[in-house]
Symmetry: C2
Subunit: 527 residues, 2 copies
């Protein structure tokens, strides 16, 4: 698939050069702009994308499960067909290494394939049938429920995953799987990557004979275009991955609409790691190495980066701290994704270092040129942490904070005090079982994913994954942005009462022509 | 069960007389206050109820499926054991007839029983297991997902169902089923009914050995107490049935919290009825009688009352109109639930009658004393309806509006124009099939329930029911407030990664000790 980067948006089947100004992508490693210039969307461009999405909705949601699954697979094939040009451009725009982006591309394609399987299985339809009971007093009508898509979805990609959480990432894949047209606002940090992937999706729309409005991608600077998009009446839900500030702004816009709509914003998490005493005893060096590797992976630019470590005061913690310092000091400064993220990281680390009671444990190699960031580990007492809400702010990047707890009660107090998180990690051995059992109910209430004896970075795309959690980790703890159940975010139930067989959707007809699992009179029946 | 009405709130296991003033219930038929006076909650009472709920949450959500199911059944038994005293008081406070309230009591008890079955089945846990793949590159961890309850829920009951949508109604039953403690704000229109039912729930909490904070019920005048309740940090979700104004106010309060929480408000719907030409031909009289009976049932005080009828201009519509007028005129004036509802109805009808282009088709018997309301049927052209948004406002009570459409295109234009609805009804015969098929996609986008050849009043409590719909029918179209899936509103997913067997929740252990259906490596396995 031979696609050139022309600085264009995608509005249905057209490639459009925005006329509201222009902007260039930026290479954070070279600290230099990258050609070409991208045209910025006018308000008319946004309206056009939304109108096309609205016009495409009924036809797109009427596609068969097989058609829709093939469309998702075709997007994946087209992304692979972009070849090395995609990886080269994504490397230049993000500062991320080639191997990482090749892995991310595979993850993106596999995510599209997973949703193709999910679509074909049809469990997401939640088909439910209650038979008529004409002899009952009062009689019961024939009632049948299925899920239908919400409508066109606006997607805002992440800075830190130019492929897997972006133009054809998890939000787009799950919305398309649900039957929702998608309008992406391309992330300003990887405009060329966005254009390439956007054209791969656009080509899949055409190849699958779908209405052009199923997919558009607009380019805009600042928040105005995004707010216009979220405010458009055709848009019925929003997927967002980014900062707490950005996510909360979209939540407010969506809530203030004439018709409020759901916002799925994945925002802010510091991902506490609880080192229980038994696990730490005699194992401090190994745990410290694993922790530092997780902390500095990808220059710490993961939503699930371990930003907090809790342990009990004592010799084992001292050993852990010394080992972590030794592991961190040789870590080289890595290029961050954007100049803005780099500045925010430096500011965040400086703010944290300046708080009374916070001391430095170790820093990595000094910063180089461009957007290279120095890893940094701090510590403080639980009392200090509990007294200052600023210490709970996410510092996006390779920085973490060790919380020294006097006893288990204080560790539990910190856990109770925390805001919502994407993940909570426990390091425990058999001797810690009672303590872990006491901690678990709190962690369940705080986090979307609880993991034992590992590190939170690395988010599997599978059926049981939850990449979500209570606010401010996300705007909606009832959902996940990664994994098969992400599709549920874009669906709503409709009940059909006494509707004639030939007017019923196939999923609900007596003969079950789709062969899907259904709940019939309260009993689950296999497909 | 011998329970007296003392004018008390329920705060855990205590009966508390509020000290922030007092208020009496009102008999709308006699237009007279009813003894005794009820004490109003102080802010401290609200805090106490929320604190107890928070304290009860972890213990309550840890109950076994069987314990929780038995608790729901015990509430039902205790409500039945209140005997005729409950029906008498509810009649006096609502003006509703005895037979209706006896039916509503049975519906309430059956609803609790349905959720007991739902709890035992365990499908709501959505147990999902992905096996570890240690040989894969990168290795996959062991991942297991289950749903857990959100936390304490605030419930605001409806004026029009003193039992089924109130203290122990659908919101309370589904929240308790999910494992959430509940704090009810009693509806001011049926305080005595609320105290009786509240004490039945309170007794069930004690009998089942549950922590007292699982249930509280507070009494407050105006919106202040409700806003305090929704603003309390312990509260994690809100169930509400009532006016659009009231629901939207709670949505704003919930969205403005430090931690925003979901609001499930069932608010406003005019429930359009589409009379397709084939169905109307030769059948106008029968359809008119059915329509008028549905319109005036319960003095029109149903959320699903048919407030809009659409048909094509012509002789059949003229016949329908004449028959509807004949059916409506003898309908007696019925006592409405409250003086406030009666006044709002009179104002709403007067506003509608005063709009240019709207003409009266017929009115029922003239109003009597007290809160008795006169049924009223109006008509206007589709053009008039499309031009004036006020004609789409819900007039709660026995009033409806016939929309005369010039052709099918105009009927479709009205459907497209409508806001979200709880229901949409189609009267169609075989000859209307093509037209019905064209209308259906629009109706799916507008309504939570689509019914054929019936009337929308009557909401079955079953697995496939959807009592929901796009805004402003509800605040959250992804959910239903009636039926088995109402439990999903109060749940969120948690993923357990590499958690040792003995620390895993039972629902996720290898041996499946609960015997529930689970999704294992993407395949549904029966329990």
């Amino acid at each position: 698939m031979n696609v050139s980067i022309n600085g264009e948006m995608i509005i249905g089947q057209r490639a459009v050069r925005g006329s509201a100004g222009s902007v260039r992508a930026f290479d954070p490693a070279k600290a230099a702009e990258i050609e070409p210039a991208f045209g910025l969307a006018t308000e008319a461009d946004v309206l056009q994308a939304c109108t096309l999405a609205e016009q495409a909705f009924d036809a797109y949601r009427a596609t068969s499960l097989e058609q829709r699954a093939r469309f998702l697979e075709t997007i994946g094939e087209n992304i692979l067909a972009l070849g090395p040009a995609l990886i080269e451009r994504a490397c230049a725009e993000s500062g991320l290494p080639q191997a990482r982006l090749e892995g991310e591309r595979m993850r993106t394609v596999n995510q599209l394939r997973l949703f193709a399987k999910v679509v074909r299985d049809g469990l997401w339809l939640q088909a439910t049938l209650d038979s008529a009971l004409p002899e009952r007093t009062p009689p019961r009508a024939d009632l049948r429920l299925r899920k239908i898509p919400l409508g066109p979805v606006a997607v805002f990609g992440a800075s830190n995953f130019p492929l897997a959480f972006s133009v054809a990432g998890g939000d787009t894949a799950s919305a398309l799987a649900a039957g929702c047209p998608v309008v992406v606002k391309a992330h300003g940090a990887h405009l060329g990557t966005a254009e390439l992937v956007g054209k791969a999706v656009q080509a899949a729309v055409a190849a699958c004979g779908l209405p052009e409005g199923v997919f558009s991608m607009i380019i805009g600077e600042g928040r105005l275009v995004g707010q216009k998009l979220v405010g458009h009446p055709a848009i019925k839900a929003v997927g967002f991955t980014g900062s707490r500030q950005g996510g909360v702004a979209l939540m407010h816009t969506a809530a203030a609409r004439k018709e409020p709509i759901p916002v799925y914003a994945e925002m802010s998490s510091i991902n506490p790691v609880f080192m229980l005493p038994g696990a730490l005893a005699g194992n401090a060096a190994k745990l410290a190495q694993g922790f530092v590797d997780s902390l500095t992976l990808g220059v710490g630019q993961f939503c699930t980066n371990p930003g907090l470590v809790l342990a009990l005061e004592g010799a084992d913690l001292d050993a852990f701290r010394a080992a972590a310092a030794a592991a961190l000091q040789p870590k080289g400064a890595g290029t961050m994704l954007t100049a803005g993220i780099h500045k925010a990281y430096r500011d965040g680390v400086a703010r944290r270092a300046g708080i009374d009671g916070v001391t430095e444990v170790a820093v990595g190699s000094a910063e180089g040129t461009g957007c290279a960031a120095q890893a940094a580990l701090y510590e403080c007492s639980a009392a200090t942490f509990l007294a200052d809400p600023a210490l709970e702010d996410e510092v996006f990047g390779p920085s973490s904070l060790i919380i020294r707890c006097r006893d288990i009660a204080e560790m539990k107090a910190v856990a109770d005090h925390l805001e919502g998180q994407l993940t909570a990690t426990v390091h425990a051995v058999a001797a810690d079982a009672d303590l872990a059992a006491k901690l678990l109910p709190t962690l369940e209430r705080k986090a979307g994913r609880i993991l034992f004896n590992g590190y939170p970075t690395g988010v599997e795309v599978s059926h049981a994954m939850v990449h979500g959690g209570p606010f401010p980790a996300t705007s909606d703890s009832r959902t996940t942005s990664v994994g098969a159940t992400a599709i549920e975010r874009f669906l709503r139930p409709v009940c059909y009462q006494d509707v004639p067989q030939d007017l019923l959707p196939e999923a609900l007809r007596d003969a079950n022509p789709l062969g899907i699992a259904r709940i019939v009179n309260g009993e689950l029946q296999a497909g």
